[in-house]
């Protein structure tokens, strides 16, 4: 105690120097001074160890959390060294040992975090300085053991006594425990074993439980269980459907020469696939029936498609087992075969029925059989999700839509002829319903009307020169335009002219005239929104029309009291 005080006094003087030398960058100088004191007193001449190094050492001795085992040994070494240092403070032998500590400390610092922690650790160190001296040895020993267990990296000298206090302020991560790889792997294997225990045949056949991949492979092989009755059970093996569709399809062809055999295989495979699926979903539902298996057949291809497994090896194995199953066809299969025979006569229905069979529902065996009949053919098409509606239904729905679309157009053409016949003043009204429809349909209808009309002289009714329209449009669009888009633009322009003529006629009639005048056109453009109070007609003319036309449209006053065009 007395020695410490003396050291403190001496440290005060030394701290002066310290602060002056090392002050600038460090914020904790005031706090560290006291800590530095003991160290300073230990060193006879501060020249050997710069204050910076000493401060750093003090900071480094803080307990650190590091998952690396390397640190433990180092810190253990430093702990003991540190333990010796305080004891030697008074003896002023620290100078010899401090340099030894320094390299160790430097190693430790590599993982040291921000300097914020140094502050409180140093203060705590200072407060517990008295306690540390006698307890250093004991603490260091304790710390070393603790470190070994809990990956706790801490320097012994600083840790003691303050452990309890520092822990509250310290990083939480210190509490971490080293992950035991062996225990982890053991747990994983335990899980796999438990899962396997549920499946009846897995354990017997697999016999390997080292890696997950192997486990998966083994589980997939279970599918191939030859027994029919146990087929569902085998399928129950809680394994992801690793069957590859590509492999099963060719494999099926090899196995069965007769169509019936193929069907059987398909049913079996599908049943396996289905069972896989159900297993997946229900995670071990063992109540699968062969019926479920049949239903699973359609799912199988989709399953195989959707899941690309690396364990292609399992597929041939499964297929082999399936072939065995075929040989040992159960009476159920025979029954289904009989059903299939009936379905064979209805291949047309198969596509539609096959897709419903894709659903994981309890469907008639016949349907499943029909599905299986078409399995080979539909394998390519059966890449449908199980939860979706049957593809056949979708397809059937699509076709009607197309048909309707085609039918709609001619239907729509019918009301269009009525439009021109409508009263002229009501031209905007028919335009509305027409505008509400898609422009294509009325455009097509217009074409029909035109052709059916009196003038069939030109196949293309007074077509605006399409090349000119193309030029104008692409100039305005500033983007490449597809041919289809051009055709649409042409149709639009024709429609537009129709509208235009109707409107002009309406305006002229409203004015009691028979010819369309400029005023009419201005009204038209105003209603179109092209001419507004802000944008008078003249501006538009000047903006868009070439000079010759402008002159014609806008009277230009020329010197000589002339106006062009002469009025």
């Amino acid at each position: 105690m007395a020695e410490n005080r003396l050291a403190a006094r001496r440290g005060n003087r030394c701290s002066w120097r310290l602060s002056a030398v090392s002050g600038s960058g460090k914020k904790n100088n005031s706090g560290r001074r006291s800590l530095v004191k003991p160290r300073l007193t230990v060193l006879p001449n501060p020249d050997d160890d710069t204050p910076r190094i000493m401060l750093r050492r003090v900071i480094q001795t803080q307990p650190q959390v590091s998952p690396l085992a390397l640190q433990i040994s180092k810190h253990e070494g430093t702990e003991e060294a540190e333990a010796e240092v305080p004891s030697k403070r008074v003896s002023s032998m620290g100078g010899m040992q401090l340099p030894d500590l320094l390299p160790e400390d430097t190693q430790v610092t590599t993982f040291h975090m921000a300097k914020k922690r140094k502050k409180f650790s140093i203060s705590e160190f200072e407060s517990a300085a008295d306690q540390r001296l006698p307890q250093n040895q004991a603490w260091s020993a304790l710390d070393s053991t603790a470190l070994a267990r809990s990956l706790h990296v801490s320097v012994g000298s600083l840790v003691p006594a303050d452990l309890a206090e520092e822990q509250g302020l310290q990083w939480r991560p210190k509490q971490r425990r080293a992950i035991d790889l062996e225990a982890f792997e053991a747990g994983v294997e335990q899980n796999m074993l438990n899962r396997k225990a549920q499946s009846h045949l897995v354990d017997s056949q697999l016999g390997m439980h080292t890696g997950d991949a192997e486990i998966l492979l083994s589980t997939t092989r279970l599918f191939v269980q030859p027994q029919l009755d146990e087929h569902s059970q085998n399928e129950l093996s809680p394994l992801p459907p690793l069957l590859l569709h590509s492999k099963t399809s060719p494999w099926r062809s090899k196995n069965s020469a007769a169509a019936a055999e193929e069907l059987r295989l398909g049913s079996l495979v599908s049943s396996v696939g289905t069972s896989e699926r159900q297993l997946q979903w229900h995670s071990g539902d063992l109540s699968l029936d062969p019926e479920h298996g049949d239903r699973a057949t359609p799912k199988l291809p989709s399953d195989q498609r959707e899941h690309q497994d690396p364990s292609q090896q399992s597929n041939p194995m499964e297929q082999l087992s399936l072939s065995e199953e075929v040989v040992a066809a159960s009476p159920e299969l025979e029954i289904t075969m009989g059903g299939r025979a009936e379905n064979l006569g209805r291949p047309s229905l198969a596509p539609s029925s096959a897709k419903p069979g894709m659903k994981p529902l309890n469907e008639d065996k016949l349907e499943d059989q029909a599905i299986m009949v078409q399995l080979d053919g539909l394998e390519e098409e059966s890449a449908v999700d199980e939860g979706e509606d049957p593809e056949s239904e979708e397809v059937s729905l699509r076709t009607p839509s197309f048909v309707c679309a085609a039918a709609c157009k001619p239907q729509l053409s019918a009301p269009l002829p009525a439009r021109p016949a409508a009263p002229k003043l009501s031209s905007p009204c028919p335009a509305k319903p027409s505008a509400s429809r898609s422009p294509l349909q009325p455009l097509q209808a217009k074409l029909v009307v035109k052709s059916s009309g009196a003038s069939q002289r030109r196949p293309r009714e007074a077509g605006i020169v399409s090349s000119w329209v193309k030029k104008v449009f692409s100039h305005y669009a500033k983007m490449p335009v597809t041919r289809e888009a051009f055709r649409i633009v042409e149709k639009c322009s024709k429609r537009y002219f129709k509208q235009l003529s109707n409107d002009l006629e309406a305006y002229a009639n409203h004015a009691g005239r028979r010819t369309v005048e400029m005023a009419d056109l201005e009204v038209l453009m105003r209603r179109q929104g092209l001419v507004t109070d802000r944008v008078p007609m003249q501006v538009l003319i000047e903006h868009h029309l070439p000079l010759e036309y402008r002159k014609l449209l806008i009277p230009v006053a020329v010197n000589g009291n002339k106006v062009i065009p002469s009025q």
């Binding site: 669009a477 649409i488 109707n502 538009l540």
Partner: protein
């Protein structure tokens, strides 16, 4: 871009649709002007649609969507 407007063509079109209607002197120029402006608006709308779809070309669906809007606008 062409400097001359297909005046005769325009006249013919309107004549075909509305035989009883007559056109004044330079009204067809204004008709031409309105048609130009219509194409302009159509092109702008189609261009906007194409850009919205992040495509570098004006596709038919863009044009259709644009036509729907612009035709309605230019009813007068």
């Amino acid at each position: 871009m062409k400097c001359t407007a297909p005046r005769s063509t325009l006249r013919r079109i309107i004549k075909n649709e509305k035989p009883s209607l007559r056109l004044a002197a330079n009204t067809d120029l204004l008709v031409h002007l309105s048609f130009l402006l219509f194409l302009h608006r159509l092109a702008e709308e189609a261009r906007t649609n194409a850009i919205q779809n992040r495509s570098k070309m004006i596709k038919p669906d863009h044009a259709i969507a644009a036509a729907k809007v612009i035709l309605k606008k230019s009813r007068g």
